[in-house]
Structure formats: C-alpha cells, structure tokens
C-alpha cells in the first residue's frame, strides 16, 4: 500500500477491498451495491459480487430476518471470490450491523447510519445496549454518519416529502463510499437521470442524496483518508459486467443465433431463475418466444412441444420445479428430442432456502427420473461462464437429440464479474441437421421414414419436425421398436433400446474436451476436484496453499454426465483427491463409484459460498496427510473443518 497525500485527506492505494452494503430489505442495498459494482467495473477493477437477501420481499423492517446485503470485492489484480470477510461494512440500521459484524476482521471500517440507532431500533435488532456506545465495536474503526437526516435535509427545498426523501439514503451511502474509494460519479449520475427520467422528484432526491454523500466524505472532518483501487491488469479486450442469469440468457440467445433455431422458453416464475425469463422476454427482436406457463410442468411441456416443432426448446427452473418437470424430462428422453433444462439450484429440500445457493441437485439431475433415463448434465462455474455453459448445453442437446440439464445456482445467478466478451463469429456453430428425406424402403419398395434409425457416430435419431411430406411419423412415451419406431412391448427390443439410449449419452464423452488440470509445478500429490460455483473459492484456496510453498492441483468439471474421458486417468495420478461441495458429497460419491478412487469429501451447506480460508485449511490438511504417508485407499476418518466437514469412509 503506497501513501500519497492530497489537500485535506490522506489518499491511499489499496490492492483490493471488500465492501458490504447492509440494510433493511426495503433500503435499496442491492441497488447501491449494483451501482458501485458498475462504476468499479467501468474503472477497470476486477471484481466479484455476492448479493445476499432474504426470501421475503419486505421482511419485517429493522429485524435480523429482514437484512439484505450486497458484498462486492474489487481489486487491481484478478480475483476469484467476493471475499471471505468485508473490510468495510455499511450498516443502515442496528439489525444490519448485528447481522454482519461477526464476519468483520479486526480493524475493519464500519460506517453506520447513526440516525437509525434509536433505542427502539437497537432493541428490535436484539441488542441489550447500544453497540455504538457500549464499546463492543472497539476492534473496528466506526464512522457515525447521520445519513437519514442529511438525505431529507438536502431535498427539503426540492418539493420532496420528507418520507419520500428518506428513501434516497441508499444513494447517500453510495455517494459516500464512492468518495471513499475514489469512484467516478458520472456513471451513477447518468444512470439516475436515465432510470428516473419520468419521476422528476425521485430523480432529484436521489441525485441530491448521492452528491450529498460524496461531498460529506470530502468535507466532513471524519475520514482520515480516501482510498483508491487501481484498474486490474486484465487480458486485453472489451469487458462488460455480467451476472450469471444474464450471461445464461445471452448464451441461450447465442445458441439460437449459432444454430438458426428459433428460441422458445417455456417456464414458470421461481427464485432464483426468474431473471432469465425477464431477460429473454426483452429480446424479442431475436425471435425469442417466452411463455410464462400455468405451472412448471406446462413450462417444460411447451418447451418440448416447441422442440418437436423444430425450435430450440428451453425451460428454466429451480429445485422444486425440477421435481415437477421430471416426468416430462423422462418423456424427452424417450422421444429423443433436443431440450435444455436449466436448474438454478437453491437450498433444499422442499422450499428450502429460496434465495441461498446450494449444489445439492447434482444427483437429482443425473438420476432423478424413473426407469433408465440417462441424460447429459453440464454445470456453469462462474457468472460469465453461464454463457458458455448454456451454449454447450444447447450444442449437446441438438447434436445428440437429448434433453440436457444445465446446472447453475443462486450464487452464480445473482453474482457478477467482469467478462471479456467473446468474438461472436468464433462461437461454436450448431447444425440442427434436420431430416429432409425418407431413410427407409419398405417391403413393397416404397420410401418411408423411420424415426429411430440412428446416426452411426452419435447414435442420435433424425429430428424431423412436422412440415415435410413423406416424413410423417408418430413418437411417444411408450417403448419404440428400434429403427421403425412403432410401439413395441418386446423385451429384447426394450433391452436393446435401453442400452442404445445409455450408449448414446455415454458416447458424448468422446465429443468433450479433456478435463483441464491446473498443476503448474506438475509435482502435486493432492488434487482438488470441484464442479459448479465453487470454482472461485477453490481456486482462491489453491492459490493460498501454493503461496505457502506447497504444490496442489485443481480440476473443475463442467461436464458431470458423461465425465470427460481422461478423468479416471487424472484422478489416478494423485495420492489424494479432495472434493469440496456445497452438499453432503454428491460428486465425491459419483467419482468413487465410477473410478474406485478414495475421494475425500469436504462439504458445507450454509447458503453461502465457501470461504477461501476454509478451503485453504482443508487442502493443507490433505497435503499434510499425504506427507505423513497416510493417503491411499482404505480406512475411515472424519475431520471437522472450521466451516465444513471432511469425511472419508
């Protein structure tokens, strides 16, 4: 950290900072965090965000249950996670303080809206005494800022009612933090102008509050220093800041553009997947049809109907919806039609934790249908990777005529990161390869069409949407005769069809890139194997362990079914394989079953991402175990981590 001096304040350069905005659900903390993220992105920082909000739209004000927070990590170098612990907490009321203070490291900055700390509010948050005066915050640098009163004061002569003016206090907080971290103010002002152009009073109040916050930092003799986080040295290119759900929606559009297939989304609103519907319904000029169905079943049914008609059929959901869609997905397995099923996982079982992330739908995705009903499963690993994963899911679906389940989760869905935009002309092309002519000659020598004649390489059947004379055919959920596709109850045929369906999905492995192993020194003995949204946390944990001088390898799976062909060989190279997951050990079970490898499961299910520190400790544990000669097959042992559990059995 280099020090430079400005007129009144110290000005310090930081390499990174983690800021957490916290307030009531109705306080606009998500908006403040989002605007701060955008101005940091435009400035060129690398960043990662973690919106953390309750399931209720307006949970009781002032209570712990109602606290909504947005954490953003900005840095001048590439980063992988939204940060284990905030360096700065903005707390709009006592509940927001109480809900978050435990995560702060000593020395952190706490900026509170002191106007909200009256006796009633303090008691409502569950404090016996006022934390601002009882000395309990002595480990932190606390700034008491009268955000509510200044915000209402500055809008007094603008004709804004005090009650309405008060609502702009999130912009005051944003202005203050923008000053403290030397963010440009123009993007936010331009955004306020555009967003509220038809609500002049709201626009004025937000504008004034934002500037007041900024000037407060500058003029109040409160802050010793302002800070700066310089742009990160990212790979050259054009960047945008993107959330997982937006990237996923764009990936689906890209799949439509690159295949020439019209995109049809059949879906039902569900947290945290609805934003994909919202984004796609804005993009009608791409020929996108979005259908908000009467229920989850109709959503996937309509998508399957559209696929039968030759569209790129997609349905989006979260766990409870995936349960409901299972029967129709099974039908798609039988029909052998392309279908993309997107599951934005959340905490379960049942309604579970709607706004919190979990990775517990993996086994459901792979096995969750009656009968032998295999299908490919693809998982996104970062917010921007949701774009690539969506494109990949559609590619596999179309090429192999199969439903594909694409797994994301609430953390990727709402989290954002800078994304270096791909060259759209370089994206994969998807050939629908529709059937155009009869493929069979019957006993009388007439040309006819058999819907279950298979491509020799892919084992995929022809896709023949209605419209071509001579290709009329009937498909359905009853078992079909191999080739001809007529209903068949013959046992030998059923066994052949079952094995063909399985072989078709298994064979996709030959069409996948080998799993990439990050093992820079090539001498690691411990491999960390992950999938999905734990990518950033695992990579950060691995970095920390390497910084301590140890070698450790990291592989992250995008294809969960089938696995890449080299996975078994990769796993066999290491003496210990650690599998961190936000579930009770699902991938670890799969690789144990598939490769007879003694995979060690490290799990946590608290609705929040792994902390890099926890993974560092878990990985170090394995490094030490290997060094002690303890690794290898056999034995049972169980180790409790500080926020996770290691199980060997």
């Amino acid at each position: 950290m280099a020090d430079t001096t400005t007129n009144e304040h110290q000005h310090q350069l930081l390499d990174r900072v983690v800021i957490r905005f916290a307030g009531d659900s109705g306080d606009g903390m998500q908006l403040a965090g989002d605007r701060f993220t955008t101005s940091s992105a435009v400035l060129g920082n690398d960043l990662a965000t973690f919106p953390d909000f309750p399931a209720e739209i307006r949970a009781p004000a002032g209570t712990l249950a109602g606290v909504s927070a947005f954490q953003v990590h900005i840095s001048d170098h590439d980063i992988l996670t939204p940060g284990d612990a905030p360096n700065v907490l903005v707390a709009m009321n006592p509940a927001a303080l109480r809900a978050n203070v435990a995560t702060l490291p000593p020395g952190a900055i706490v900026i509170v809206n002191v106007d909200a700390f009256d006796e009633r509010a303090v008691a409502k948050a569950g404090y016996a005494t006022n934390p601002l005066t009882d000395g309990s915050l002595s480990a932190y640098t606390v700034y008491e800022v009268p955000m509510t009163s200044i915000t209402t004061e500055v809008s007094k002569d603008a004709g804004v009612k005090p009650r309405d003016a008060e609502r702009s206090k999130n912009f005051f907080a944003l202005g203050l933090i923008s000053w403290l971290y030397t963010r440009p103010i123009e993007p936010t002002i331009a955004w306020i102008e555009a967003r509220y152009h038809d609500k002049p009073l709201v626009k004025e109040a937000n504008h004034r509050a934002f500037k007041a916050g900024y000037h407060f930092g500058e003029t109040a003799e409160l802050f010793e220093s302002s800070y700066e986080v310089r742009p990160a040295a990212l790979e050259p290119g054009v960047y945008t800041n993107v959330t997982g759900n937006t990237a996923l929606a764009w990936g689906l559009i890209a799949a439509s553009v690159r295949s020439g297939l019209p995109l049809f989304l059949g879906t039902y609103p569900i947290t945290p997947a609805s934003d994909i519907l919202h984004e796609l319904s804005k993009q009608k000029h791409f020929g996108v049809r979005t259908f908000q169905a009467e229920d989850e079943i109709a959503g996937v049914g309509a998508a399957l109907g559209a696929a039968f008609g030759g569209a790129l059929g997609v349905t989006t959901t979260s766990g409870p919806g995936l349960d409901l869609k299972s029967e129709t997905i099974g039908l798609a397995v039988s029909l052998e039609l392309p279908l993309v099923v997107v599951d934005i996982q959340r905490g379960g079982p049942s309604t579970g934790l709607p706004t919190k992330a979990e990775q517990a739908d993996l086994l459901h995705a792979i096995y969750g249908r009656h009968g032998e009903a295999p299908l490919p499963v693809v998982a996104a690993k970062t917010p921007s990777h949701c774009f690539d994963a969506a494109l990949e899911a559609a590619r596999i679906a179309v090429r192999y005529r199969t439903p594909v389940i694409l797994l994301s989760d609430g953390y990727l869905a709402n989290g954002a990161e800078p994304w270096r935009l791909p060259d759209v002309d370089g994206l994969v092309t998807i050939d629908p390869d529709f059937a155009t002519e009869p493929n069979h000659v019957d006993e009388e020598g007439n040309a006819s069409f058999w819907p279950y004649v298979r491509d020799e390489e892919t084992l995929a059947r022809p896709w023949a949407p209605p419209g071509i004379a001579g290709l009329e055919h009937r498909i359905g959920g009853l078992e079909k005769a191999d080739g001809a596709g007529n209903v068949s109850y013959d046992g030998a045929n059923h066994e052949r069809m079952t094995r063909l369906r399985a072989a078709r999905i298994a064979g996709i492995a030959h069409d996948l890139p080998p799993v990439d192993v990050d093992d820079p020194d090539g001498d690691a003995e411990v491999l960390v194997l992950g999938w999905g949204s734990t990518y950033g946390a695992i990579a950060a944990g691995v970095r920390r362990v390497r910084a301590l001088g140890h070698s450790v390898a990291h592989a992250h799976l995008v294809h969960l079914n089938p696995f890449p062909t080299n996975l078994g060989e990769v796993l066999a190279r290491y003496r210990a394989v650690l599998v961190p997951e936000v579930n009770l050990g699902q991938l670890s079970r799969l690789v144990r079953a598939e490769y007879l490898v003694d995979a060690i499961s490290f799990t946590q299910l608290q609705g929040v991402p792994f902390r890099a520190a926890a993974l560092e400790a878990a990985i170090l544990g394995q490094v030490e175990r290997v060094r002690a000669g303890a690794a290898g097959p056999g034995g049972t042992d169980e180790v409790e981590g500080d926020n996770g559990k290691v199980v060997r059995s």
């Binding site: 059949g266 079943i297 209605p466 419209g467």
Partner: protein
C-alpha cells in the same frame, strides 16, 4: 420447412391416405372407432396437408389416436398434451394441431393445462372423448362419472359432483365450444369441421361409449330411437326446438333459467333463438346446464363460436413489432448492451 410445401397444390386424398399402417387396438365395439373414422373421413374434405397436421395426446384409451393417423403425431404423458400443444402451436402457426383427450386425461390430471390453453386461446382443436369412466386402468370412476357411480374404486358409490365439461370450458373463456356424439358420423364431421376452421382454441366434447366398462352410458339420449326426443340440436339463428315433430323447445323462464317446454304450450315466438356468436357466454353456459347428464334432453352442436386474438399470432406480432423497432437481433450488440470498457 413450409415454403416447399406451399409451392405444391394440396393433394387430393382419401381416408386411406390418413390412416397409418398400425393395427387399431381398441376393444371391439368401442366408440373410439367411429370417432377415428369420422376424423379420417373429414380430413380429405378439409383441404389440408398431412405433413402439416399433427395429432397430440396424453394417456388413456383415446390417447392412442395419433398412432392410427398417418400424420405427424405424439403420444405424450398423462394430462399434458394441451401444454405440449401450446409450445408447438405457438412456434408453428402453419400447422393444424389436434389434441385428443379423455375425461380423466383432460379433466382430472390435466385439468389445469386444459383451462389455461382455452383461456389463452391457443390455436388448437381439442377433442374430449367423454366416456365417464377410466378405461385404460380398467374401470374406475372419472371426473365426469355420475354421483353414486359404483366402480372398482367406489364399491359403495362415488361421492363426487361430476364436472360438466362444457360449463368448465365456457367458464375458462373458451372461444369455441361444441358437443357431439359417437353414434352420428354426419353430426360429428360437421362439428369437427367447424372446430377445425375456428382460429384459436376449439373444444369439442364427444360422448363416447366405452362398451367394456361403462356400456350404454349415453344410450338413453344417443340411441337411434331416443335421439329425436332426447337430443336438442343447436342451430345458429334458429329457435331451439327438438322432438320428432319439433314439438319441444327451450325457453327462458322469468327467473332467467332455461326450461324445456312443449311448443304448443308457449307458441313458437317464445322459443329461445340460439346465438353462437354472442359476446356474453351466459346463454351458452345456461344451455350447457340444461341437462345434468345423459338422462335428460341434451343440447348438441356448437354452443359458442366467437373471435378473439389467437395466442401464437399475437406472440408473432410482438416479435415482428420488436424487429421493426430495433432491427433483427445482433448478438455482438447484445453482449455490448450494458456498460463496457476496453482493456489494453
């Protein structure tokens, strides 16, 4: 896919062209046979193309229908055919999409999809084969079975108030609602022709005899000797009357309810004149409630036929409007639609 076909005139076809090579497997004597025959005889008359005709179904005896049609077809899962048809019809306005369903499929497990497809006015033709029983699962009571029905699953009689399928469809804002029966091919073909020609969702209840598990359920009204006195043919713009000599009719009583009367008692001018196209579905609804099961004089024919924008066409219009306003989608521009910045 459609351009090539458009260049070729619609071929002249016969019933045989619309029949698949699959052996029909309904029980001998099942009413489904006559419905299949009526459809296969009607299609050559409609001037439509086989390759643009799709039959979709769910599960049940009726749901085997698509296998017997030499068209595109899908035999899907229980109750979901209207949902699947919605996706197909919304993306392929060039197709004729028929949904074949039964009382269990459409009104029990698939009730939700049925009412929403009707409400949205999806461009599909829904045929509900109503036999008031579960056939494929061998004889349990269905949502249209009469109260106190004794079946395998209700040895002491069923307790449930049955659905009136037409009342349900009208309540769901259906734009075309009709009833016919499996004993009168001519009537079936005429009603099905009207249903096909209607733009939007058409709903046709077809009284169908399940001779194995609920034989003669409709005999009292559809039997050759009973029809004249028990079926009330609805004719648009005509007074509603029936009977061998047209001696009975339907009037609206002072309390607004409908009643069956003898024309001689009230005079011809007092009879209710049928109006399929009335904006208000109240009269059609009243007609649907005139009989409480196939034991009283029962109206057949088209109850309601009104125009309302069709869902798929409106979806296409929104797309066309968006393209006109913004130009066709440009992927590179989409990716740059938020704030962007250049590095290096």
């Amino acid at each position: 896919m459609t351009e090539v076909a458009d260049a070729v005139p619609v071929p002249v076809t016969t019933r045989k062209d619309w029949s698949s090579d699959q052996e029909v497997r309904w029980c001998p004597g099942c009413g489904d046979y006559s419905i299949l025959a009526a459809v296969q005889m009607l299609l050559p008359e409609l001037g439509v193309r086989r390759e643009r005709t799709v039959f979709l179904s769910g599960i049940g005896c009726a749901a085997r229908f698509p296998y017997y049609m030499n068209t595109y077809g899908m035999h899907s899962i229980h109750g979901r055919a209207p949902a699947i048809a919605t996706g197909l019809a919304a993306t392929r306005p060039d197709l004729d999409v028929w949904v074949v369903s039964g009382d269990g499929d459409a009104l029990s497990i698939g009730g939700n999809h049925l009412v929403h497809a009707l409400r949205r006015n999806i461009n599909i033709t829904i045929l509900l084969f109503n036999n008031q029983i579960y056939g494929l699962t061998k004889g349990q009571y269905s949502p249209t079975s009469e109260v106190a029905k004794v079946t395998k699953s209700t040895p002491f009689g069923s307790l449930e108030q049955p659905f009136n399928p037409l009342s349900l469809a009208l309540g769901a804002e259906a734009t075309f609602v009709a009833r016919t029966h499996d004993m009168d091919r001519k009537h079936m073909m005429e009603v099905l022709r009207r249903a096909h020609d209607h733009r939007g969702a058409s709903f046709v209840e077809i009284y169908q005899n399940c001779n194995v598990f609920n034989d003669a359920a409709f005999e009292g009204i559809t039997g050759k000797d009973n029809r004249a006195e028990m079926l009330i043919p609805l004719v648009d713009g005509e007074p509603i009357r029936f009977g061998a000599e047209g001696q009975h009719g339907v009037v609206m009583s002072d309390d607004g309810s409908l009643a069956v009367v003898d024309v001689a008692d009230v005079g011809e001018d007092a009879l209710l004149v049928h109006d399929e196209h009335h904006d208000n579905p109240a009269l059609a609804f009243q007609l649907s409630r005139l009989s409480h099961g196939p034991v009283e004089p029962t109206p057949i024919g088209v109850f309601r036929d009104v125009e309302r924008p069709e869902y798929g066409a409106q979806m296409a219009e929104q797309i066309d409007a968006a393209v006109a306003r913004r130009g066709s989608g440009d992927l590179a521009a989409l990716l740059r639609s938020g704030s962007t910045w250049q590095v290096g």
